[in-house]
């Protein structure tokens, strides 16, 4: 702003260099903040209690010990928790993909009385925070005898209004000529959905699958409410409950946290663009 004199020609350039370097200093600080906690988590899972207490300023272990990982095996029903989480997140995501895309197919491709009403109902459920429905859902599951069961964990989560919405938007963009051609060839609705629409909707499937799996894998409150039996807990719920009661060893909890992070981190590494696309496309709406 102060450089309106034409004498110092290089001044604006110098400003940009200054701006650029301060920009990169800020970005590097951001990087350090983003990465260090994860490095500390992984390294902490290999440290002994005395090392943690003795060298709190150190980012790396003085000597590597596996007792955190051994403790995870001994002190937590770890395989069971891991299996539960995979089952819960995997089966629920598969069911969600099927149900959401079926529902979205009808909303996007079929004309029928009540379509707008159905769509409004679906969108309305998007607005309801699930914490508000938690108590009645708990009571419903209690009456069904579904507490501490896999169906109790899975069925209420087996569809998502968000997924229906995303699929519907995607299906609408697929040209209708394709369905019409198939219909002339004698294909029914289900065949059109299964053979034509779904194969074209792979990006939408990937996005819904990844966002859903991630949310379910990470969820705490839902498994905490539906399950109380330690054999039915998922990883986040198990780590939280055991972290408070049975485990006092920090390395054990950090090892548990590290292991629970691996599947999501691997998925992120290989399918990053779907994570980002899922977030970004919904943001542009």
């Amino acid at each position: 702003m102060s450089t309106e004199t034409g004498v110092r020609v290089r001044r604006p350039g110098a400003m940009t260099a200054l701006a650029a370097s301060s920009k990169w200093i800020l970005l590097v600080i951001g990087l350090v903040f983003a990465i260090v906690p994860f490095i500390w988590m992984v390294s902490g899972s290999f440290r002994s209690e005395s090392d943690l207490f003795g060298n709190p300023a150190s980012l790396f272990p003085t000597s590597i010990t596996l007792h955190g990982y051994l403790g995870v095996w001994e002190q937590l029903p770890f395989l069971r928790l891991l299996g539960n989480t995979f089952l819960f997140a995997g089966v629920t995501t598969a069911a969600t993909l099927l149900f959401d895309s079926l529902c979205a197919y009808a909303l996007a491709r079929l004309k029928f009385r009540g379509r707008n009403l159905a769509f409004i109902l679906v969108i309305a459920t998007l607005m309801v925070p699930f914490q508000v429905t938690l108590i009645p859902v708990f009571i419903e599951l209690f009456h069904f005898g579904w507490l501490n069961t896999y169906q109790g964990l899975i069925v209420p989560r087996a569809t998502s209004a968000f997924g229906i919405f995303l699929f519907r938007q995607f299906f609408i963009s697929i040209p209708t000529e394709l369905d019409e051609a198939a219909r002339i060839d004698g294909a029914g609705h289900f065949r059109i959905y299964w053979r034509i629409i779904l194969p074209l909707a792979k990006p939408a499937i990937a996005t819904v699958a990844i966002l859903n799996f991630m949310n379910l894998w990470n969820d705490l409150l839902w498994p905490l409410v539906v399950t109380s039996d330690p054999n039915m807990l998922t990883l986040p719920a198990g780590l939280t409950l055991f972290g408070g009661q049975h485990v006092t060893d920090h390395a054990v909890l950090l090892a548990g946290a590290t292991i629970s992070l691996i599947p999501i981190a691997v998925a992120f590494f290989f399918a990053q663009k779907y994570f980002v696309a899922g977030v970004a496309t919904t943001g542009l709406k």
Binding site: L27, G30, L31, A34, V36, P37, W40, G44, P56, A57, S58, F99, L102, C103, A106, K111, F112, L121, V122, A124, T125, M127, V128, P129, F130, Q131, V132, T133, L134, I135, P136, V137, F138, I139, E140, F142, T159, R183, G186, A187, F190, Y193, D219, L220, L221, V225, P236, L239, G244, L254, A257, F275, V276, V279, A280, T281, T282, G283, L284, K285
Partner: protein
């Protein structure tokens, strides 16, 4: 729930007009019976409801019906499994407005939301501006910034709880290196809430950033050229072209983050469990404790509806606020 059973019979034969095929009718097969009666019967059946049945039933049973149930319970001194329930009218709501625990939780939730969202949006927008160019380095930096968003609140809460621990944590260790006393961040009545807010911000800055990068890239370059031709400087360009162009995303991000913050539970539950002395006790924490630990179902239901109303109100307010400036 009942909607999908009542509609099918009412459907009229669909004719989209000459030339195009009826979109929802069964394909006209050269079947053995071409007479009108079977055709009409077949048209009455609406496969659409069959396609939607699984989703609509689940949403009906586990979302729409429960939200009304919550309202119903909130008028009772409800106890799970009891044969009779005492009707209280607005008793729970009156109790709630006189309950210091509720006001405390409301205050904590609002403070948390206000600071967390403001910081997430500002820092997210700032980093998006800095990382707009597309090259290998910016892509890697963006991925690293985004990464915490996909990690569970439990993991993040646990790691930060230990990081901030004055005796084992890295933060305490570094303060000691500087010759200062380590701070007990999470057990201090004045620092616990800011610490939790910091962690929430740390997790979601990348989420806001990704939204803004996508939106900023979609701003047509001609607008900037036009602005420059009019002699605008960089700051003016940001203020008068960039920000108005990404207003829908700004609204979306603010709303999503606000709703997410008002529902904060996992992070608080893992890091402080509402303590010290309820300084980080959020509304959902209160609902969880009263509903599932103290079994005050009716009362917790009333708090739930207040939370629902609050979320609705703030969402509508934000919609109004952002649309207000739309007449450019």
């Amino acid at each position: 729930m009942s909607t999908h059973t009542t509609e099918p019979a009412l459907s009229r034969p669909a004719r989209d007009g000459a030339g195009s095929l009826p979109r929802n009718a069964e394909p006209v097969r050269p079947g053995p019976r071409g007479d009108g009666s079977t055709r009409r019967r077949r048209r009455r059946f609406q496969p659409a409801w069959l396609f939607m049945a699984p989703s609509l039933i689940i949403l009906g049973v586990f979302v729409l019906f429960p939200i009304l149930q919550t309202l119903y319970y909130s008028f009772f001194d409800w106890t799970i499994g009891a044969s009779t329930q005492t009707f209280l009218g607005f008793g729970n709501y009156i109790k709630l407005f006189q309950d210091p625990q509720f006001w405390n939780a409301l205050g904590v939730t609002l403070v948390f939301t206000a600071f967390a969202v403001a910081l997430q949006i500002t820092l997210g927008f700032g980093s998006a501006l800095m990382l707009l160019k597309d090259n290998l380095i910016t892509r890697i930096v963006r991925s690293v910034y985004f990464f915490p968003t996909i990690v569970s609140f439990v993991t993040i809460g646990l790691v930060w709880k230990f990081l901030l621990d004055p005796s084992i944590g890295l933060v305490g260790g570094l303060t000691q290196l500087l010759g200062l006393q380590p701070v007990a961040w999470l057990t201090s009545t004045s620092l616990a809430l800011p610490s939790v807010i910091f962690v929430a911000v740390w997790r979601s800055v990348g989420f806001a950033m990704i939204l803004f990068v996508a939106a900023l890239k979609a701003v047509p370059a001609e607008r900037y050229e036009a602005g420059r031709l009019d002699g605008a400087n960089n700051r003016q360009l940001t203020l008068h072209i960039t920000i108005p162009s990404v207003r829908p995303t700004l609204l979306f991000a603010t709303m999503i983050l606000t709703i997410q913050s008002l529902q904060v539970f996992d992070l608080v539950y893992v890091m402080t469990d509402g303590g010290p002395v309820f300084r980080t006790d959020s509304l959902v924490n209160l609902i969880y404790r009263d509903g599932f630990v103290n079994y005050q179902t009716g009362y917790a239901s009333a708090v739930s509806w207040v939370l629902f109303a609050l979320i609705m109100l703030l969402s509508l307010l934000q919609l109004r606020l952002f649309r207000y400036n739309d007449v450019d």
